[in-house]
Symmetry: C2
Subunit: 672 residues, 2 copies
């Protein structure tokens, strides 16, 4: 059907959808950069979705029981911005649309969570949105199981493109969603057959219907430019038999642009003024750039109010809850930290001081979770198939699965990237606090999603065990050497490497209390003694602190993290026995130490002493503590790794690589 | 069929396969760590594969036309080590088997490329092997197209487990192999239904047959403990209709261990002395630990010689080649760098000095490749669907695809991780030099495979364009901030960030000449002026060098990389005009500078000057140049990023974030 026929067949729909198309063309042209083709291609589908199916209220973007809409194909950001503007989200003004991709605007090149209301997650790196959506949908199931469908019953809608489906993370997401039978998850596939390099077929011949079906999805199809057909498919999509649903929306990229539609030329560049004019004519749209006529805008604004009544009813149900239940529900969806956390942590720390357990910090982490999880129903754990190694499953957590939506532990499978992205989705959904485990070295697999946690300023907790060569025999592929540096390199990320049970408890307390940054917990495989002698204050919150004071004004300051703090303490003993006053500074979190006032930093790290950093990892990221902060190259040294590890028992590796108290003593004395 | 029946049905096969099983049990027990279950489960399949199908000659592990065997499920390393020992690879002694997972042994916890002959690639991080294999198989196709099937005609065999198939990277690999119709690629799926956390079904319900078929694979099945059935399936697998083949081998993990078989208890821990004794009895195997009776060993050794004759014939064909052709084939499979490289680079550099083009370094990279690729037929390019942005396809490169195996450019699709892993495979196969492009920020997606390039000491070239906030409007999701630091943090990786066409040419020359480390080329989106004034020497090979000398003994040294060198040069002009002698040091490669003699380093970075580092990225990784190497905290500073980027035109971002000549001047003067 040609454009004219489409327009005549359903003029109302045509005008609504074309509003999106022209805004996308105009904004990309004004910015002289961006992706017009996808919004032009998916405008019809989005119009039917927002117009008739999506449960939302533009005046209440935070309404907890709204449907979530996730633009996994984030480069099509103008589709989302246009929808937010047209439906009347208060902060998405026409001015913002006109400032697309400009400094200070809410309309970034790709949708950025937190920039504008209605952006549920940051997308752009392909595949992340669809993988987030699995987390959103699991969170919805879990909250529904806990609070009932009167308070929680909504869908997760995703628009994903061919790029999303080619990225490996999409397979992890699809398979997890299929295994979990997330019936309220609906993925709308923008099947336009075009990628940047050309036709999809030059790199992919996958039959997506069969692929999704193989992982337990239901597959529907529609003509992505036929409003009635889209409506039929989206209606059917909501009538799930328990399986998640893929809707194959056959579309034409850059729909309506005579010269560029159905080519990669429509994908990532402005169409050009001439082509835009021609396309406007083809649309039968004779309004100037950025102008949406009042009658059309007003229809869109009515769409934005579609959900108002439903929301009011929901609010009534919330208000009618018994006080305590209402308060708890409010706390949960606000994300406020439970007042029960601090006492649980304090009790455990005090107990630890008495029993002085020598345990791996991964075990310590489990001990913390055992006392925290029963009090914090929002804790939602999991592991990428390393439960017995990460020690992430506590006794009280049932498994979250098709049979038991009240479970709070997810078997993510061997899918580190999908897990991290799902954790982002769970956090963003609200109501739950996700944590998930794998080995620290597999940060490599999860990086794409972990970076987005940091960029969005959200706070999933990554439980990364086997955090050094201390894991031993598994060898260099499994031994993180550069991964602490990688995590510390990432802005807005807390990297906690506790040295014993007390620091591990403190790290968890900090991680849970932090709502605006992810935490990476780097935890040992090997047993570590209890080194802390006090527990009254959360000293880890200062990032670094004096763990063992020197017997006199310190001549040597040994700094270490995690499993190497024990080495520092032992080295100190020798140095002290030789008459060299030596201080040990434990550095569980560099980011927090950096944020301390200078006076405190100088108190912990006085100028004029020898400084040695000890960490079974590369030096990168340590120099500021050694040569900066009043230190100098001439009086500092580092004991760690300069190359990949090896396969052997941990003790052998520490000896062979010279990460020992003896070597520490020697290096300290050489600098004195 | 129970064990006894199996044994009686085919005692010869039984003894061969059981040799593998007992060695795996014994070695893991001796090491008190490792994974016995997988070798025990896949011993039958491996025995049939090595015994009857795999083309190899244990006495010539480097025979170019051997079949490649890749153990993607690398935790089952004892399967491979047992096979290498049994078939008589010279360096895989029984002593090595007994020293499994010990310091200095060749038998690391996971197979490490380069440790022992017959290890085709390093595996362990799941999914890497299967993704490597796609590169191996593409390389075989390409070399066969170039040199004919008399010289190159072999298969790539992979053993992959459920973990490999759950990792997202496997989907990228499967879909790419399907699109490329790699008919000589055969994946043997160890379908044992067990992962570390339990039954596969707790996290995955994917029908793998349908999943592979959806991407254009042929799927066969066999009983993985029935030698005849395995033989039938492997025979059929080699009779391809053009599609790659998956063989579903239904196996029992820990086969024969009464207490642990078919449970995750057999996966990753020693069985225990008692259970091993019981299992030996169940096998009807009454030989002591590590003992393989001579008659069985001798049958295995005969298997190791199966390919000798075929190899001799192949060698005859090689020897019979015309001299020039033989030399070129020898050069190609040895990996020796073509003597044509240096002159091509020199000519381009000289031309650049004359024409002084102002181009983005991604464009400069294309200009280099345009003059290099026609002379170096081993160059094998590609991009993860960003060809027009990475500028990786030169005019002479045809597309490598089903219709054109002589093409030298791969459309990897939107699959950064799969691309990097395939590049590893292409390099490891031999004969070709892979390079591939994506945006620097998507290092995040490819990290898992990039780390393995470095760990293996192999040298694919990563063409990472859009290397800073300088990419502008796409915004923070696409702007690398921490990625240079991440790449530099990785041991044995060259990170080259050239500042102009001449440095880009030098960087490519270094990258191509380097055979034992991967290179990351960080290239700008934005245009950069030609800054170099000489071209006779490859100055980039020193890592850092004086680009602009100060007018007198320098009081300020400005160090910068890539697009920020221009800023340093401009700042120097201002400082010099104000009477402050200022040197500009270009730092295209920190790793190479670190390897220079101290005298040279001190010459470039004299003590006692103000030092400022400029890079549109985080400071981490710079401190050693600023505060070390004779510098100090008090006299140095850094201009770069401390947080994520933003969406706006590049010039705006540089201004807003203060990465400007003005700010450089100001900071320098503040320190004087």
């Amino acid at each position: 059907m040609d454009l004219d026929a489409r327009r005549k067949a359903d003029p109302q729909h045509w005008n609504l959808a074309t509003s999106i198309r022209v805004l996308a063309m105009d904004a990309v042209q004004a910015a002289n950069s961006g992706h017009p083709g996808m919004p032009m291609g998916m405008a019809d589908v989005a119009t039917v979705l927002f117009g008739k199916h999506l449960k939302f209220d533009a005046s209440a973007p935070h309404w907890f029981d709204r449907d979530r809409f996730i633009l996994s194909a984030g480069h099509g950001s103008m589709l989302l911005y246009a929808l937010l503007y047209l439906t009347g989200y208060e902060d998405m003004t026409l001015e913002e649309i006109k400032n697309f991709r400009q400094w200070g605007s809410k309309t970034a090149g790709h949708p950025e969570y937190g920039h504008a209301e209605g952006i549920e997650t940051t997308t752009g790196p392909l595949g992340q949105g669809i993988a987030n959506s699995v987390g959103f949908a699991m969170a919805e199931e879990a909250m529904r199981a806990e609070f009932g469908e009167e308070l929680c019953s909504h869908r997760t809608w995703v628009i994903a493109g061919d790029g999303c489906l080619m990225e490996g993370i999409s397979q992890e997401a699809i398979a997890l969603a299929g295994a979990q039978q997330l019936g309220k998850l609906i993925v709308l596939w923008d099947n336009n057959d075009i990628t940047i390099d050309g036709r999809v077929g030059i790199a992919d011949k996958t039959n997506q219907h069969e692929r999704f079906a193989a992982s337990g999805w239901r597959v529907l199809s529609c003509d992505g430019h036929d409003a009635a057909d889209i409506d039929r498919a989206l209606t059917e999509a909501q009538n799930s038999d328990g399986r998640p649903t893929l809707v194959d929306c056959k579309t034409i990229i850059g729909y309506g642009s005579a010269k560029k539609q159905d080519t990669s030329g429509a994908h990532g560049s402005p169409l050009g003024a001439e082509e835009i004019a021609a396309t406007r004519r083809a649309y039968g749209w004779d309004h100037a750039e950025f102008i949406i006529p009042d009658d059309i805008l007003s229809q869109w604004r009515d769409i934005g109010k579609r959900g108002a009544e439903e929301r009011a009813e929901w609010q009534k149900r919330v208000d009618a809850l018994p006080g305590e239940e209402r308060d708890e529900f409010a706390r949960r969806i606000s994300g406020d930290v439970s007042p029960k956390l601090a006492p649980a942590i304090t009790a455990l720390k005090e107990q630890a001081l008495e029993s002085k357990p020598k345990v791996a910090t991964r075990k310590a982490s489990e001990m913390v979770l055992e006392v925290v999880n029963p009090h914090l129903p929002e804790m939602f754990g999991g592991s990428a198939d390393l439960t017995g190694s990460n020690l992430t499953k506590t006794a009280d957590l049932g498994e979250f699965n098709v049979q038991n939506r009240a479970g709070r532990y997810i078997r993510y499978g061997i899918r580190e990237h999908g897990m991290a992205a799902a954790m982002n989705g769970i956090f963003l959904h609200g109501g739950l606090r996700p944590y998930g485990g794998t080995f620290l070295t597999f940060t490599d697999y999860a990086r794409g999603a972990m970076r987005l946690s940091a960029l969005m300023g959200i706070a999933p907790i990554y439980v990364m065990t086997h955090d050094s060569i201390g894991l031993g025999e598994d060898g260099p592929t499994h031994q993180p050497i550069e991964h602490l540096a990688i995590c510390r390199a990432t802005p807005n990320t807390l990297v906690m490497r506790p040295c014993d049970l007390i620091e591990t408890a403190e790290a968890w307390e900090i991680a849970i209390e932090t709502r605006d940054a992810p935490t990476v917990m780097a935890l040992s495989r090997q047993n570590l003694p209890l080194l802390r002698e006090t527990a009254s204050e959360n000293l880890s919150a200062k990032g670094a602190y004096i763990l063992r004071e020197a017997s006199a004004a310190p001549k040597v300051v040994l700094m270490a993290t995690g499993s190497e703090v024990e080495i520092a303490v032992n080295a100190r003993e020798t140095l002290e026995s030789q008459g060299i006053p030596t201080r040990v500074v434990s550095v569980p979190c560099m980011e927090l130490f950096r944020a301390q006032p200078e006076a405190y930093r100088r108190e912990v790290l006085p100028a004029g002493t020898v400084r040695i950093g000890i960490e079974a990892a590369i030096r990168q990221g340590w120099d500021w503590l050694l040569m900066g902060e009043g230190g100098s190259d001439e009086t500092s040294d580092f004991i760690g790794m300069t190359h990949f590890g090896a396969s052997a028992p941990a003790e052998t590796l520490y000896q062979e690589f010279g990460i020992t108290p003896e070597n520490t003593v020697e290096k300290a004395k050489a600098l004195l």
